[in-house]
Amino acid sequence: MSAPLIWIGLPFALGILLLLVPRDHWAAWLGGIFAAFLSLLALLAPTDTALNVFGLFSLRIESTVSLLGRQVSLTPAAQLVLVLVYGIGAFWIFGGLAVGNARRLAALGLMSIALLTASLAIRPFLYAAILIQGAVLLAVFMLAEAGKPAGRGLIRFLVYHTLSLPFILFAGFLLSGVEVGPRDLGIVLQAAILLGLGFAFLLAIFPLSTWLPMLAEESSPYMVGFILSTFPTFALLFGLNFIDRYAWIRESEAFFQVLQAVGLLTALSGGLWAAFERHAGRIFGYAAVVEIGLSLAAVSLPDRMLGLEIVFFMIVPRALAYGTWAMSLAVLRNAAPDLRYQSLQGLARHYPVATLGVFISLFSLGGAPLLAVFPVRQALWEGLSAQGFLPALWMGLASLGLWIASLRCLAVLTMSPENTEWELRETPYQRVMIAVGVAAMFVVGLLPQWAAPLLENLAGLFSQISR
């Protein structure tokens, strides 16, 4: 058995099969259980290690296979990513049962995750850009809703992601002769410009982030949430691979200064726009912009290992917040004609659990104490403060924007006439899923040490950065 077959081939094949399963909830249960199993397997059975299964037989999962002359390899260092990504995948697929579209999410979601995992495994890593593009194309089928013409956000999502591919590939081809160091500054400069453009498109860096709020406004919040919790994470991992691979990037102080400025500008733009926004869906998009910006700021910290830990630590709290928020928004979207504030006014009396989900998730992403994102935000804020007042101020303003958006959202949702009766109109399954998400945000926030065992192998994943 080889790891690429188990964590890439099988989920991709199952994704195709799930499209043929007759009932939506069967597809979701099958997909969710399989994703959870893969996450657990990654946790319990690291690759290239012989395991004695119940004293009956020995099992060893080979990390590498060869495909068309190239290596596809999931080393033990990738264990952390596999556990996280398939765990998060299971969480989203099970959540899909509460809000509809379960089959589309289970089938195409599993296929996307498999392709994104392959992007981490392929050698040379440059080819990851093409695999990420494959996942983007699958995402188009997830995001487009039947009977509704594709909106501007979806078209821009497709265009921007597709444009990133040739820029990154071309830069990689140029750099293939500059493996060791900057022997040819001209080529390095050209490649750096192309790479910068490619990643600006891929990661939705300001000002190329306009599609995010548009997409969040037009498409199903739950599908958008899934896309936003997986794609930027893998795009960032891909970017980290570049930093890890090329010494001239890794050792350039100017690069990290630019990265920090760009990251904080992106976060600030998202936070400010979120504070003034009057559409709950678009706020979701802006919050994602803030998250992307802060992830870039984390990578730019002078203590590179701390930056990596923050990036990886963020993955689960962010997925929890996105998941709970997206599910709550999906419930509200079914109850109101759209997610504009004037349509949502007073819905808290009829949908209190969904209202709680929206409020707590947004507050968590804002970095409120006791909630999941707080420990990691605090670490990042400390790191930025050590570099000066201005970076810390920018981050503070970005978070403040999300706090204001959260309070405005709560105010609108609770603004109902005096004698409106309280009701629970969410389905029992929706109530349970949102409540579990909210509770998990508190638990993860109160017990941040949960991530320590997972982060042990992090240095192996990016051996050069962590030195």
């Binding site: 495909l67 068309l68 494959g134 194309l137 293939s176």
Partner: protein
């Protein structure tokens, strides 16, 4: 003789990329797209073996066919919103910039050759122009296919890996499929709500 063929191909690319931008009839657009893939075929042959170049040609034609089949079933008219003269002026501005850029590119990548550089930059420039002027799925797909073809042509002197060529062919077909799916949504009536 071969050099002349390369120049003819580059001139054909110049023509097709501008016509693709100006064309209002989807049938003509797809014919021109197919011609465009035919034109870049001899340019790929400069650095790639015949089989890989032919795969690129066939993939492009298949992409055009996928879009054609979808539109044939769905609609006679694909909406176009902007003025042709305005587009032509912009296309000529881009063409002028490309002529300047191609000579600079020749210095960066001397192995590429001027016809290839000219054709590749023209495809990238006109493709990006197309993308900048539309949010229609059909036009956006044409723009993406054109831009991607330009980048692939430009990178052909740098990389001739079979795996990359195969994956890029899959991306081209995937783009055509995604584009045609979005087109079906554009023309599909909204499902009736059952009370």
């Amino acid at each position: 003789m071969i050099e002349l063929l390369h120049w003819l191909a580059a001139i054909l690319v110049l023509f097709t990329s501008i016509v693709l931008l100006l064309s209002r009839d989807w049938r003509w657009s797809l014919v021109v797209l197919a011609l465009q893939y035919l034109a870049i075929f001899p340019l790929f042959l400069i650095h790639w073996p015949l089989t890989m170049s032919a795969a690129k040609l066939v993939t492009g034609w298949m992409a055009a066919a996928i879009l054609g089949i979808t539109l044939n079933r769905q609609a006679d008219v694909v909406p176009v919103r902007s003025n042709r003269i305005f587009k032509l002026v912009l296309a000529l501005v881009v063409a002028g910039t490309v002529f300047q850029g191609a000579s600079v590119l020749g210095e960066w990548m001397p192995t590429a050759g001027l016809p290839l550089a000219l054709a590749a930059l023209m495809l990238i420039g006109q493709g990006l122009l197309q993308l900048g002027m539309t949010v229609e799925p059909f036009r956006a797909t044409l723009g993406l296919l054109t831009t991607l073809a330009g980048f692939e042509l430009l990178s052909s002197p740098l990389d001739n890996s079979v795996l990359v060529a195969a994956l890029m062919a899959a991306v081209t077909l995937g783009l055509a499929l995604a584009g045609s799916y979005l087109l079906t949504l554009q023309f599909e009536p909204a499902p009736e709500v059952v009370e």
